[in-house]
Amino acid sequence: MNKPQGASMYESAKKIYPREIGGRFDRLSKIATVTLLGLFYIVPWLQWDERQAVLFDLPARKFYLVGLTLWPQDFPYLALLLIIAALSLFFFTALAGRLFCGFACPQTVWTEAFIWMEQFTEGTRSQRMKLDKAPWSLTKFRKKASKQFLWITFSMWTGFTFVGYFTEIRQLGLDILAFSVGGWTLFWGLFYGFATYGNAGYMREQVCKYMCPYARFQSAMFDKDTLIISYDEERGEPRGGRKRSVDPKEAGLGDCIDCQLCVQVCPTGIDIREGLQYECIACAACIDACDSIMDRMNYPRGLVRYTTEHSLRHKSTHVIRPRTLVYATLLTALIVGLLTAMATRTPVILDVIRDRNSLYRELPNDVIENIYTLKVINQSNDPRNFVLSVTGLEGISLDGAGEQISVDGGGVLSLPVRVRAERDKALGIHSIDFVVTAIDDPGVSVTEDSRFLGPTP
């Protein structure tokens, strides 16, 4: 093991106490937190057509997304959607750096909410540091206990909401009140709740620094035109304290008064003045901190600001560049592809399963019979009538061909069928097609191939 000299194998528990700071970016991050968490907690309660609007019904293997019902067979859409999400992350990272980390990542958003609760019960940064150093007293216990109460209640509610995306949340709520929740449901609720409590209450910035894979590979998407948060070294150095009346130029000083405020507000505990660091989650707290000091000193704002490496070196910044063009083209192509595929999707699925027990049956009058089980899945929300046919072999017939079959909205019909052909035409293996067509709309039709087996020629 190569460990740093003098450092213990075990981490000494020196906590990071991020200092609260108001400002434009703080306001933005508060808006982002409230919006995103609000969506998370409210969406499962929304109804659509007398069912939950967004429900990933795992027990029934159906996903409801507002008016859309997705089946396991629609998995390619979901995969495509995830690829689009990943690619958008790359695209926005190339353009705007770690905007996602600072404002939209669940880790950041929940940590922010937990810090609000901490501030509410334990007070400001210095009050919190003092409280942690103080010996146990009734006041300390009261403050810590009320913080834990808020944290745990919030975590449990989070776990409950999370499970509510997978089982009907209204029913789940009633089940909880009646103490009759299923074992696995309870387990996943507690699991997610506990993960939230641990990650947002205790792990915080360490998740970003040590565990997040994105933090490690995001630098691959960065270039000199990417928006980053940076300290303007040229303007700030040499740093040093001074009175407000002193003209920094005469004193031979830069604009940085070395107040350490940018360090104190940093949730990951870094010093932005040491340059771009992988720990930086681009939350912009240091910008707010520095701007407030610049205002007080009557210096122009922006000693710490959103900028690009090129602009720091007095070169021009290019928003349109090969990297962003490639990401944008791919992204557009995939989104158009997904929308087209969704729009042209036929809302019926046919699965054909050959009877495994017998290859074929010889009937009197030189007729060969094969048996199949057809599964007709009606993906629309209303019941629909279909008609079934089979093609691919001369004189092939299907009992029940031409008959109407009715499938409920969102239902699956399992239909055993017998297919027959004359013996002399059916020798060997033939490829045949089953066709299911909706009666009310011949455009809604699906073809599935299978095999028809006969005696060896």
């Binding site: 740093p4 450092a7 027990p59 396991p72 998995f75 660091q277």
Partner: protein
Amino acid sequence: MISEEYRGAKQWSRDKQAVFTVIWISFLVAAAGTMLFFAVFDPVDLTGIFDADLDVSRDAGYAAGFFFFWILCAVCSGLTAFLVRTAPKRDAKHREQ
């Protein structure tokens, strides 16, 4: 990298970092793997393969699948992390020569 105020305090040991990274990354991969796997296979159909009398609900099937993937991925990346660990010191010596 870490500001003066926190230096030497909040750094995780390599072991701790490796353990948590392995757990977390295998969790993510297992989540993706479970999704892919169960999009194709229905746990209710699968249980029949192991034991015809086995009566397992879908919920339990999903959970079992997820933990199976998680443990599998954690064992794999854990062993990898453990085995690649010994190299750096010798490398450094070679470079000096």
